[in-house]
């Protein structure tokens, strides 16, 4: 066994990546001392639900809840790691504790990128963010959302559904960078039909005003709102690893098994792993799970473990539309319709990239992911 026997494993991070890694360590046969460190006081939850069902005013506050952890390890919640001592194999926590390990999983995820340090700039990343935004929406304040990606659009959709007047500030057409022009067009139309105001700009900044914050666009126009939410990307939480030499351009680079070294795995939103299109962070639900399974197995079994073979799965729900897509986005050009047709109604669509890889997408169409995956591989 590389690096000696495995008696103690520490998983730093209790999101879906850390949780899956902990479960998988057990399934791979690790029966030693397992400790999971979670920065938030909450048990692990489903992050995708925060900007979807949880934001809606249905009274259901449980859509993010996950089944309890089954790994039987010690969970230290509300505690943050502040350092990693590679030479002595210790994880240092913010309460001064030093946890010894034989193997460690780095899974601290990422946080919202911000445009200012102003407290009026809200973001939606964690459960507390979502609950606080949800309670604000009860008063139906006018809302400005800065960010035209999937998260910004989901937030805008939730705020509209709550009865707020909502302005979305986007660099160019919303979703066009992430989805490509065809699907962006479908979603923008649905958003406009429901009353979303979209302001396109080259750039936006957030600055202080008396009693709050405001958004200033590149042409000098100013938007003021009682509630201001930004959704402009994420930043990996790797500062606690700064002096380890493991951080490269903000992320942790791993091999195709999710390992940094034989005794260290990194999984989830902070990990950049090899893909056919180069080394990438793919901060998505199923990506975090697949990475965690592969890496935890590799930590226990060493070189016998199978490498990651990952095809992105993405879904969103917004403005009355639901989209599921398998394959690499964004998409150029018009789709081939496997079922349904243009116009924003239920449709099963397929695109081919220039390199021959395919993408299958289901719009308001119930279909199992395995079928969607098969469809993405079939030439149109």
């Amino acid at each position: 066994m590389i690096g000696g026997s495995i008696d103690r494993v520490v998983v730093v991070g209790n999101g879906i990546a850390g949780l899956t890694a902990a479960d998988t360590l057990r399934e791979a046969g690790f029966d030693g001392e397992l400790t999971v460190v979670g920065g938030e006081p909450h048990p692990a939850y489903s992050r995708p639900a925060l900007s979807k069902a949880l934001l809606l005013d249905s009274g259901d506050l449980s859509s993010h809840e996950l089944p309890p952890a089954g790994h039987g390890g010690t969970q230290l919640l509300g505690v943050r790691a502040t350092g990693l001592r590679l030479d002595r194999r210790l994880v240092i926590l913010d309460d001064g504790t030093a946890l010894p390990y034989d193997r460690v999983v780095l899974a601290t995820g990422s946080r919202a990128r911000r445009l200012s340090d102003l407290p009026e700039e809200l973001t939606l990343r964690g459960l507390d963010d979502a609950l606080s935004l949800r309670s604000r929406l009860a008063g139906r304040p006018p809302v400005v959302v800065v960010g035209g990606g999937p998260l910004g659009m989901e937030i805008a959709s939730g705020c509209l559904a709550a009865g707020c007047r909502v302005t979305l500030v986007s660099q160019g057409v919303p979703l066009i960078l992430q989805f490509g022009p065809y699907l962006a067009g479908v979603f923008v139309k649905a958003a406009l039909d429901l009353g979303l105001t979209i302001v396109q700009t080259g750039s936006a900044r957030i600055e202080q005003r008396e009693g709050g914050a405001r958004v200033v666009l590149d042409d000098g126009a100013v938007l003021e709102a009682e509630t201001l939410v930004s959704a402009v990307g994420d930043v990996p939480d790797t500062e606690w690893l700064a002096d380890t030499g493991l951080v490269a351009r903000g992320a942790i680079h791993v091999d195709s098994c999710g390992l940094v070294r034989p005794d260290i795995a990194a999984v989830g939103d902070l990990a950049a792993f090899p893909t056919p299109y180069g080394r990438r962070r793919i901060p998505l639900w199923s990506s975090a799970i697949e990475q965690a399974k592969v890496a935890a197995t590799a930590l226990v079994r060493g070189e016998d473990a199978p490498p990651l073979r990952f095809q992105p799965y993405f879904w969103t729900e917004q403005f009355g539309l639901s989209l599921k897509a398998v394959g690499r986005l964004p998409l150029q050009g018009e789709p081939t319709y496997v079922d349904g047709g243009p116009g924003g109604g239920p449709a099963l669509m397929r695109w081919s990239h220039e390199d021959g890889s395919g993408v299958a997408a289901a719009l308001n169409y119930r279909i199992a992911i395995p079928r969607l995956r098969r469809m993405s591989r079939t030439a149109a």
Partner: protein
């Protein structure tokens, strides 16, 4: 152990089917069908893996 489905929560992603095709599948309508609700020790890990994949926690083991 038993796999329990909370049907109203299920959004039909089918990530569970991908994790444990021996235990469950989505039918032609996209509705989840539990092919085996009672699972033995041998398939416990499989059942847990399927439950863990669900982003809306529509599945649990009891």
């Amino acid at each position: 152990m038993k796999i329990v489905l909370d049907r109203p929560r299920c959004e039909g992603h089918g990530l569970c089917e991908e994790a444990a095709p021996q235990l469950m599948h989505l039918d032609d309508e996209g509705e989840l069908v539990l092919d085996r609700e009672e699972v033995g020790e041998a398939d416990a890990a499989l059942a847990h893996a399927a439950v863990r994949m669900c982003p809306v926690a529509a599945l649990r083991v009891a």
